[in-house]
Symmetry: C2
Subunit: 431 residues, 2 copies
């Protein structure tokens, strides 16, 4: 596993290389995706069914067989063992509790002229959530996408999840039941994104599509952006764990936290940053030890080899600079005084504070969303939240007297912009 | 000008045709834009200068001549006449006042287990605002893009504005001075977007790009989305004016409000919706009258002919349905009781309430932003605001005892997702 130090003369360059990750912009892929979208717009249900039969080897013979009933979701939950039921229910409750605090309300105020200004907040009417199928089909993703939408007040949440060979993950369906998803279609890929964006005879058109997916899904989301809203183009998952070699640190804990990211994906990224050379060496040893006995060791090794790093910094201030440079999706602060660092952290998707807050707790049940900005996009974007499922309309009410001075100002500025009808429209209100 | 009625058997189809507007997806345009972006990433300053010389016929011979000093902005303001100074200053003050109410703050709370959860709010570090040059170079756009960024706490606002043949609009520069823009480069097109997204030797890389532009700018923004944040892909501007033929309505005012949209652009859209056939006829007559004496009559006629409509609805409830179907960028409610309608309006960028609130007041100086979702995207997006220049990071702090039950739940769910390192990382915290 690569080791870097801020003392290296080419540290900046090494860090830039480590972080470089471009989403595939393969022209063939884009063409395929564009073609699928065009076909779905033209042929609707029939092509969605045909592509699902082809790509997912799904045995359905009609589009209606691709929709799951609400009863089947309830049934999936009912047949779970108690341990799973309790865990999923706990996660649901906690995620709902947290997100309820994100709800925004309409506000209005009166200005000194007697005009009323404000912002009306309205939930989106209908949204689609994409849940990957097959190996990486996660019930937790269902909760994290559907719950904020429901808390926002979205009337209809449509979930799509591919079912390769018709096989479904029962935990995913149970999660859809708990999260009160309204309709589920077992479709996936660019065809599912296109169906949600434009609607077909059977699949309703939505206003926004959220949720992760493979490169076809990512390309399709980018292509339909504007027709519908999208959450983000997700890149590989990353964690940055920061420590300072304090007495309470446990190298085996730190190593396992890094591995919990590395086991996700061969392109996942785990970075350890420490001010202490001894701790850096100890964590390297513990990673090797743990890898000897990890089911997904093969994936994790690849991830650590190609995208992982152990980074030595001189002091806390350098540590903070590296964190802000990386703008990590997940940031763990394994220090005695994590609150002291909070002000200096400008870019991170989620901040896990102290030694008893591993990323895994946030992935499942702490409450905050696990859909987070990746690949440095925490510089400008936020965790998925209720705010993604509410939108705002400005409210402007001018009284007859309050309108006059504003109309005068608008008249003057409109004339300077050579917009004569604007100016006259304003002038009517004060002359 | 086309007249529709909800009584027409094909009303739905006619309305769909009226609203259909797809942003250009011309393959040649996309290729040109992709090539420009690739060149700028490779060659930086030199290609930005060369393209500016070529496309804008700008006389500069070095990239540094393309940057304006802060003094030149102050100078542009100082040389304005008093009327313009006062109008711009009033607009600045009101826009700032409104946007200050949108500032979001960091929050945290303690759960019943003694864990702390919350959301840290941080301004973006550096943003770019695109201001069109030439004919449609509007000082109001500078205020509406730069002020929310500054109110959010963005440290550095970089403005780009093309200067065809080196000529600049002094009002635009004066607005940049008032809005406290930090740096201005006189560049435009896809090359300006690429320079802001990736940075060059001279032009700093930003975290988000906002502001309208031509089709090259729109395509470039879509292409760099993910590398940086963007506000939206803006379509043509639209207004929907709603009235019910009440005694206080003035057909000449309503006509001028529609024309103030139509004069913007040949593809701008002005729609009048009324429950009253007599009012519909009267507004049609007033539009014709006003067109006889409007500098931009030619543009407005084209816009009204191809994209405008006068729509007759049976009653208020049908009116609200048409409004929500259109999801207009600007919505004027010319009725005695606009507040009574507010609850039923689900989709609109900005709502102008009552007869004394023409869109023009909102365009310049009411306070709310004039950068609004177009082409029906008010279904899922919001006016530009301070929230576009702040982002959130989740805060999760688990106490030693509060961590244990959550770690247990995470352990169980991680096992069900076959993520062993996740499970072990959680288990360390409770065993």
């Amino acid at each position: 596993m690569r080791q870097l130090s801020t003392q290296d003369t080419d540290f900046e360059q090494q860090l830039a290389t480590l972080l470089a990750f471009e989403t595939v912009n393969d022209a063939n892929l884009l063409k395929t995706v564009d073609d699928i979208i065009a076909q779905v717009r033209l042929d609707g249900d029939s092509i969605v069914l045909a592509l699902t039969q082809k790509f997912d080897q799904h045995p359905a013979t009609s589009i209606h067989e691709l929709e799951l009933s609400k009863d089947s979701l309830a049934e999936a939950f009912a047949t779970l063992d108690d341990e799973a039921k309790t865990a999923l229910t706990t996660a649901t409750t906690r995620v709902k509790d947290f997100h309820q605090r994100q709800v925004q309300e309409t506000w209005q105020y009166e200005d000194e002229l007697g005009n009323r200004l404000g912002q009306k907040v309205t939930p989106l009417d209908r949204v689609g959530i994409y849940v990957p199928g097959g190996l990486a089909s996660y019930p937790s993703s269902v909760l994290m996408n559907a719950i904020p939408a429901k808390v926002a007040g979205v009337k209809e949440v449509i979930m799509v999840v591919p079912a390769p060979k018709g096989v479904l993950n029962q935990l995913v369906l149970a999660a859809a039941h708990l999260a009160e998803v309204d309709r589920v279609f077992t479709i996936g890929g660019a065809q599912a994104v296109a169906a949600l964006a434009y609607g077909t005879e059977t699949i309703p058109q939505v206003d926004k599509i959220t949720g992760p997916g493979n490169k076809f899904v990512a390309a399709a989301k980018r292509a339909v952006f504007g027709q519908v809203g999208i959450d983000m183009i997700a890149g590989p998952s990353e964690v940055l764990v920061y420590a300072e070699g304090e007495a309470d640190d446990r190298a085996d804990w730190l190593a396992m936290d890094l591995l919990s990211q590395a086991e996700h994906d061969r392109v996942a990224q785990a970075i350890f940053v420490t001010t202490c050379p001894k701790q850096l060496a100890a964590v390297a040893i513990e990673i090797e030890k743990a890898l000897n006995n990890l089911p997904k060791a093969d994936i994790a090794r690849d991830s650590l080899k190609h995208r992982g790093a152990l980074v030595l910094v001189k002091d806390r201030s350098e540590g903070m600079a590296v964190i802000n440079r990386v703008a990590p999706e997940h940031l763990e602060l394994s220090v005695n005084d994590p609150d002291a660092l909070l002000n200096d952290i400008r870019h991170a998707g989620a901040i896990f504070m102290g030694r008893h807050t591993p990323e895994a707790i946030g992935d499942y049940c702490a409450g905050p969303n696990h859909v987070l900005p990746t690949s440095g996009t925490a510089r400008f974007s936020s965790p998925l939240g209720v705010y993604d499922f509410q939108k705002k309309s400005s409210i402007i009410y001018c009284s007859e007297s309050g309108s006059k001075p504003l109309a005068k100002t608008a008249d003057i500025l409109a004339q300077r912009e050579d917009l004569d009808a604007h100016a006259r429209s304003a002038r009517y209100r004060y002359q």
